[in-house]
Amino acid sequence: MRNLLNFVLKYGYWFLFLLLEIASFLLLFRFNHYQGSVGFTSSNRVMGRIYAVSAEVSSFFQLNTANTQLTQRNLELQVENQLLRKVLSQRSNNDAFDRIVASSTDKDYTIIPATIINNSLNRPDNYITLDKGTADGVMPEMGVVNGNGIVGIIYLTSEHYSLAISLLNSKSCISCKFKNNDYFGYLKWKGLDSRFAYLEDVPRHALFQKGDTIVTSGYSAVFPKGLMVGRVDSIADSKDGLSYLLRIQLATDFACLDDALIISGKNRQEQHTLEQSANQSTKK
């Protein structure tokens, strides 16, 4: 008995070591599978506060660049708006058409402005923390965009903060299409360079060329159709040779994110339940 006690006293730290390592690994694996782990991320209350303060300080120094970017984007949109107005006025001679266009554009999605308070680029899986949470109506699986393009998808939410899966994350997979035709593929990030992502599963017979614009397809109800994603930078074949693999220069500059918009489709819940029940019935 005394020997046993001595043994435990002498080598007890082994047990403590194993216990702590097991706890670490439980955390590591739990985070990837369960949605309930907000407390262990930067979207919990205390960390959110600290990051909010630090983001305020650093965003002050980025105001200049952000401003120029916004002005430029504003100008582009103004020109586009003018053009569309002209086309619309040529085509519609009656008020009814105008009303339909006006009602269908802005009512399907609600928009929540938010500030990005934490962001990373250099890990294999990057996350973004935002300063809006369930209290402001943010729910998991809403889309995050900024003035230049799409940013990510909300993953976890606490009361006042939320955590989004960045585009720069191995788990991110977004349905995208070409702006000038409807061929689509899936956008994935393969690590290392924060400026480029890859568009997979683009069919062999798709028509496109280098420099073509890629936008969201709107199939998933996370993002509305037609949001800017990036441009085709180089063209290659996929590993199995059945489709194209396109390198996309992303429109969003992830190295200087500051303000963002959280987008939610009004009918998102309905589409989601419909798709899930369809999946379940086909499995049976």
Binding site: L20, L27, N122, Y127
Partner: protein
């Protein structure tokens, strides 16, 4: 006793905040990130009990994890470092040194300290990078990450040592 604890706690908070708010945003050439917070574990007194070393290591790693959205990764790596530290310290300490000292350039001498530092950082970074990437698909990227981060972190810690001297 209490004063020692409070001083350690002060260092703990300072290192975690510096790591989370400044160093985590640094990424030289997309590979090297300085991981300064391990300095706390490396600089603990030589005769500190293994139990408190392990607990400090776990808490430190977990705090950094919570800030950087990588639950368990830093905690596992830092607990491993805290577990290895007494053996590594004994390996690199000069024979005639005092019973109780805080590892550093002053107490150990430059070259033994650098050797101790390098080995500790290598263990920690290897565990960290392997857990973060969780695959061996791109071995050259992994090796490059480990080596460059060890170098950068080592330089930072030597810099602090010079200032404290």
């Amino acid at each position: 006793m209490l004063i020692t604890f409070l001083r350690r706690l002060g260092w703990f908070v300072l290192l975690v905040l510096v790591q989370a708010l400044i160093l985590n945003n640094i990424s030289f050439f997309g590979y090297a990130t300085p991981v300064l917070y391990v300095y706390l574990i490396l600089a603990f007194d030589a005769n500190m009990s293994r139990y408190s070393l392990l607990l400090w290591g776990f808490a430190l790693g977990l705090a950094v994890d919570i800030f950087s959205n990588t639950p368990g990764v830093n905690a596992a790596a830092t607990t491993l470092l805290a577990f290895m530290r007494p053996s590594l310290l004994r390996l690199f300490t000069p024979r005639d040194s005092a019973e109780d000292f805080s590892p550093g350039i002053l107490s150990m001498g430059t070259s033994p300290f650098i050797r101790y530092l390098t080995f500790c950082l290598l263990f920690h970074q290897t565990a960290l990078v392997l857990l973060l990437t969780f695959s061996l698909v791109q071995p050259h990227v992994i090796v490059l990450r480990i080596v460059s981060s060890v170098l950068l972190t080592g330089l930072c810690i030597l810099g602090i040592e010079q200032i404290r001297k």
